[in-house]
């Protein structure tokens, strides 16, 4: 009995905590008139689905597409460079490897809002700002790369070392052992970490805000922020926008919740 009481309490805590998410979707379903009722309606009395209107009105598709492009680029670079490095760092011992790992961890913690100034100046110098989305991808990947290496390294350390030795003796090169034996065994960890990187990049703001000047190339975060400061009273539109934006994130999260939690807990403190 006590166990179900605890469950009820847990659900209550979760409900309180997740109220902002609920409130976003509840507001999205209200009419522009009913949101200015006071006391506010906790449940939309006459729910109105306005998703497609808002979607078309604000050309959300374009900005989500930009976000998707940027996030895909970031994830691709991160996986490409990070997977091998994480594997090598999981194997390596000695001073050089320690320095590399230290460098990776320390570079992960640098706040983007502080790194963006020099990057802007440098990118401007080499003309990269003419390709602002690429610039965002390159800059953000440096941040996600470190995060990815740290988490994936934890995955690789769980693959027994002797498997690689066995593969080498069986006839693999180092390259072959990595692709045929190690990668398949670390696949789940790699995929989950990549999903996390993708979700993070999908909500990237600082670099997009700073590098992308052309409206058509804006990511959804930047566009939403612009909209937020320009039309700060259109809460229905804003909450619809926000709701559309985070829906894919929430869906992926609900589907992969268990794996995300294990992935984070296994590598986060290492």
């Amino acid at each position: 009995m006590k166990r179900y009481l605890l469950l009820a309490l847990a659900l209550l805590f979760a409900a309180i905590y997740l109220f902002p998410v609920y409130w976003m979707y509840a507001t999205a379903l209200k009419t522009s008139g009913s949101i200015f009722k006071y006391p506010p309606e906790l449940w939309p009395s006459e729910p109105l689905v306005q998703v497609s209107r808002v979607f078309a009105e604000h050309d959300i598709g374009r900005y989500l597409w930009n976000s998707l492009l940027v996030a895909s680029g970031i994830t691709a670079i991160t996986m490409l460079l990070g997977t091998g490095a994480a594997y090598a760092l999981a194997n390596a011992r000695g001073t050089k490897a320690n320095i590399a790992l230290f460098l990776v961890i320390v570079l992960q913690v640098l706040p983007p809002s502080l790194m963006v100034t020099p990057l802007f100046v440098a990118f401007n110098h080499v003309g990269l700002l003419d390709y602002p989305r690429t610039a965002v991808v390159l800059a953000t990947a440096a941040k996600t790369l470190a995060f990815y290496i740290v988490l994936c390294r934890a995955t690789f350390t769980q693959v027994p070392r002797e498997l690689k030795d066995a593969a080498l003796v069986d006839g693999n090169s180092h390259l072959g052992a990595f692709f045929l034996i190690i990668l398949p065994l670390a696949r789940n960890g790699i995929l989950i970490t990549s999903v996390l990187v993708f979700l993070q990049s999908f909500g990237e703001y600082v670099y997009s805000r700073s590098f992308i000047a052309t409206r058509e190339l804006q990511t959804a975060t930047v566009n939403l922020a612009t909209y937020l400061s320009a039309n700060s009273a259109d809460w229905v539109g804003l909450m619809n926008y926000a709701g559309i934006y985070v829906a894919p994130i929430l869906i992926v999260f609900i589907l992969l919740q268990r794996q995300i939690v294990t992935g984070l807990t296994s590598g986060a403190l290492k």
């Binding site: 000695g94 002797e162 498997l163 030795d165 066995a166 080498l168 069986d170 006839g171 693999n172 065994l185």
Partner: protein, 359 residues
Amino acid sequence: MNVDHPSMNQIEIEHLNKNYGSLQVLHDISLDIPIGAFVALVGPSGCGKSTLLRTIAGLETITSGTIKVAGEVVNDKAPRERDLAMVFQSYALYPHMTVEQNMSYSLRLRRRPKAEIDQRVGEAAKILGLEKLLKRRPKQLSGGQRQRVAMGRAIVRNPKVFLFDEPLSNLDAALRVQMRSEIRKLHKNLGATSVYVTHDQIEAMTMADLIVVLHDGRIEQIGKPLDLYRRPANRFVAGFIGSPAMNFVPAEITADGRAIALGAGALLKIPRAQEPGRKVLAGLRPEHLRLDGSGERLAATVDIVEGTGSMTFIEAKVGSELVNIAYAGTYETEAGAPLTLGIASEDIYLFDPETGRAL
């Protein structure tokens, strides 16, 4: 067997040194392994056995020296170019492959025809009794079955050399004894050169043609099992080979050089004359100490008696030194009882107390 002729040696190691950073783990190892031999590398844990085996396999680079396989220097060759198979302590089976896929992996990498692969896997499975398990994953196997798969993976390749790194240490005692003789039989049938690492001297003694005793990264002695038992080159080998371990008792050579004086006042004749007055360590194997007092005699007092029925182990005091006695059979005695021990003169080993070298 002419060990000096190069073509008779499958593996030749010359002046091999191996460092991990500033830590040297192998010191000037030179070793010839004849074709078809079963060689055991034995020594206490941490002495560098695995490291030596892994340098032969090509899994570790060497700091200096040369390694030849079939007369050819392989220092710079990758493991896959050396035609060696290895069985690991943890078995290292690929968890995402079935038994069949595990066993055929090396053949598939070498792009052998499908028919040949099936035939060789089938043969190996038959030898090892794995036919019914071919479709299982390693997770669905018992420890003993996994061990067999690891062996199977090695033998399908029909390699020049088998390397074993403590392959039986994860099995229970009964299975270990059984696998010991199976591996021996397998070696007899296949005839391939085998290098077998173990920390268990009994395993080495029962399985190997040739034993290499390692200690702190150095070779202490190389020899046939009984030679090591009968003529240990130094105190370390004498204490390591044989169970229960040899007793070491401080003694002094008498004035005529033909006997030793033990602290307890006993005088024991020794097989070969030594420098008179020299301090030595006398090595007495527990199983050589007789309870009927025949041969060279020394007086002792029983301290502890442990009987298993077929064997009786007695810990006794000779003067102030404790010695162990292993008696085949039942012997009834009790703590405090006096004993007259005897030992054959040729069973007395002498070692230099400083260098440990046999005298």
